[in-house]
């Protein structure tokens, strides 16, 4: 029996909601098989990976902390991907934001004041957006592939932060250890009262996602973004400038990635190190797709992906699995999401008997 895909007359309503859930379930099954193949007790591994992080207060907080950058970046990428523009350099914009936001606490070390933190967040956003302008402008002006340019910027920014913490911003008291000085108190993102470690970043992330949802649904410019992606010709005829959209979505996604960078640094390590991101910018691509290119969906998706980070750390400690297990699970998750999304638009049917010239 052979199967084939047939386009549905209209998108399947049920699957539109259910496909991410099915994809997560399918990922659990595939991950279990994967663990069994590499010779780990698969039941134990699945428990450590997906359940144990939910059971302790500290690890639940940790999930929210890790989810913060993922939600911020993922929601921004949602806007970008909806317009059929591919910013895959969020990892670089995250670093750019962290660097730009650190100009106050590190470039002007010792400056205190209530205005320090807001200015840092603003600079973080600006830094990320500025870094994203390089691929955006090169795309608009020269037609250079935004995918490749934004990705190249990731490597360049990783080298830049590495250089910064070893040279101009190196902590003079670190005995040559590559890290910056610790931020002063007014440059720290405070912990939400009543929690141990959870800083205000998660609130910023949720507010930003909700705003983007409003922007896409209720604001004219958001509508332009969606039309430009879904029906580029219609958008052009109605006078929407494609170049303007490319610049806008890169500014939004880059800016939010930059904001995520400074939020994560000011709320977490509170200093710069040679490596400041465990791949948040790339994982956020999965967040955007798992959230079905919906900023509110990105909140839930961000939490799930954060769970895999914390679960992965647990698996390292408990089961001696290597750190890359997390990436493998995340990769499987993205594969599953993409495959299940197919069934929103298509259905399977048994191939009818070969009739005439159609089959080759």
């Amino acid at each position: 029996m052979q199967l084939e895909l047939v386009k549905r007359d209209s998108p399947n309503r049920f699957l539109t909601v259910a496909s991410p859930v099915l994809a997560v379930v399918f990922t659990l099954i595939l991950s279990g098989i994967f663990f069994a193949i590499i010779g780990v007790d698969w039941q134990r591994a699945l428990t450590v990976f997906f359940l144990e992080p939910l059971q302790a207060d500290w690890s639940r907080e940790d999930i929210l902390i890790k989810a913060t950058p993922l939600i911020l970046i993922g929601a921004g990428l949602t806007v970008c991907f909806l317009s059929n523009t591919w910013n895959i350099g969020a990892e670089g914009q995250f670093i750019a934001g962290a660097l730009a936001g650190s100009i106050i606490p590190l470039g002007f070390y010792g400056v205190e004041g209530f205005w320090v933190l807001p200015l840092m967040l603003l600079l973080g956003f600006a830094g990320g957006a500025l870094c994203a302008m390089i691929p955006a402008l090169l795309k608009v002006r020269f037609g250079a592939s935004e995918i490749l340019v934004s990705l190249m910027m990731v490597y360049i920014m990783q080298l830049l932060v590495d250089w910064m913490v070893r040279n101009p911003w190196r902590d003079p008291q670190s005995f040559g250890f590559p890290k910056s000085r610790d931020f002063v108190e007014s440059a720290e993102l405070p912990v939400i009262p009543g929690f141990f470690d959870l800083h205000w970043g998660i609130v910023i992330a949720i507010v930003a996602s909700l705003f983007l949802a409003f922007f896409l649904k209720r604001m004219m410019r958001g509508f332009d973004v969606r039309v430009s992606g879904a029906a580029p010709r219609a958008a052009r005829f109605s006078g929407v400038s494609r170049n303007g959209i490319v610049i806008l979505v890169f500014a939004i996604s880059g800016g939010l990635a930059g904001l995520a960078g400074i939020v994560d640094v000011a709320g977490g390590a509170q200093k710069l190190q040679p490596v400041i991101s465990p791949g948040y910018g790339f994982t956020a691509i999965i967040v955007a797709f798992l959230g079905r290119l919906n900023p509110v969906g990105a909140i839930f998706a961000g939490l799930i992906l954060a769970l895999t980070y914390i679960g992965g750390e647990g698996a390292q400690l408990d089961l001696g699995l290597s750190a890359q297990t997390t990436q493998v699970v995340q990769g499987i998750l993205l594969f599953s999401v993409l495959a299940f999304d197919t069934f929103i638009l298509y259905r399977l049917r048994r191939k009818p008997g070969v009739s005439g010239a159609g089959a080759a």
């Binding site: 592939s145 890359q324 993205l334």
Partner: protein
């Protein structure tokens, strides 16, 4: 002087070979109308598979085969999703790279720091008594390993395949207009599967070159963006094999700059030197993309578009 020239040429060849292998594979894939952004992931998996197989069997040649096989295996995951499940090609390619990063790190965890076995040159060295000029020539051009020769041979072979054979014509037809190719009775999906598998094999070989010749050892993430540079090379070359070769060797020369600026003692931060290939990629993309006419003529018209046979 002879030594210096020899070192220059060797550096360029060594740096260009992995790029050339991966880019020639991706060129065939894109000519069939499929954009596989998973080159980086396939190269990494190829690199670790080649290294592991070499350690286990003691034979770098089996390593080379394992590298290619790993590349094909990973490319088939991409192929099934993109061709059968008609998923978004950009997103699926990215997923492949993320997956490959993780998988290679996982498989290679036990091999970090293990001294590698280098893939030996194909031909023996000349006797010590040979004249200096001849031995220099011999070392540079005749003492390369099989992957270098394979990468160079792939250029005329693929030109011939694309321009002079029926298979090449079908491949290009599928890439330029999948609807017409389908109407003519060609199986778009099978042609693309073969192209994607070929791309996987070549990327795997490129990775194998890195872990068997270039370093020769396994370090996590050792491909370091070369998969992405290979993708850029295909655009730079406007989908023409000869230009891919020129581009790969130009990039090899950038690496040369990187090593020798440091050796001469110019005081430039190491990070800036390391960033050179990435900066060069951006510059090159801008220069070539500025010529929109050239790009428009050569871009496979169906590139990146999903195909569902209309029945």
């Amino acid at each position: 002087m002879m030594d210096l020239a020899q070192a220059f040429i060797l550096t360029v060849i060594t740096a260009a070979t992995p790029l050339l292998l991966a880019a020639m594979g991706e060129l065939v894939v894109e000519r069939s109308g499929v954009l596989n952004l998973g080159v980086e992931g396939m190269m990494l998996t190829g690199a670790v598979a080649a290294f592991a197989a070499t350690q286990i069997t003691g034979s770098p040649y089996i390593g080379v085969l394992a590298g290619a096989a790993a590349g094909v295996a990973l490319s088939m995951v991409f192929g099934i999703l993109v061709l059968l499940f008609v998923t978004n090609q950009v997103a699926t390619g990215l997923a492949l790279t993320l997956f490959g990063l993780g998988l290679s790190g996982l498989l290679g965890a036990g091999y970090v720091g293990v001294p590698g076995i280098k893939l030996a040159p194909l031909l023996p060295a000349l006797p010590e008594s040979s004249p200096e000029f001849l031995s220099a020539f011999w070392t540079v051009f005749m003492q390369q390993d099989i992957l270098v020769y394979l990468s160079i041979a792939s250029v005329p072979l693929i030109i011939y395949l694309l321009r002079r054979t029926r298979a090449g014509l079908v491949l290009r037809a599928v890439g330029d207009n999948h609807t017409s190719a389908h109407a003519l009775g060609y199986s778009v999906i099978w042609v693309r599967f073969l192209a994607v598998a070929f791309g996987g094999a070549m990327a795997g070989l490129g990775g194998a070159y890195l872990s068997l010749v270039y370093t020769p050892q396994w370090t996590e993430g050792m491909v370091a963006g070369r998969g992405w540079i290979a993708l850029a090379l295909v655009v730079f070359a406007s989908w023409l094999p000869m230009r891919v070769a020129v581009g790969a060797y130009l990039f090899g020369a950038v690496t040369l700059l990187q090593f020798h600026l440091q050796a001469i003692g110019v005081s430039i931060p190491a990070q800036l030197l390391n960033a050179l290939p990435y900066i060069a990629t951006i510059v090159v993309l801008v220069l070539i993309s500025g010529n929109r006419r050239l790009i428009a003529i050569n871009t496979p018209a169906s590139l990146g578009k999903s195909f569902v046979p209309d029945r």
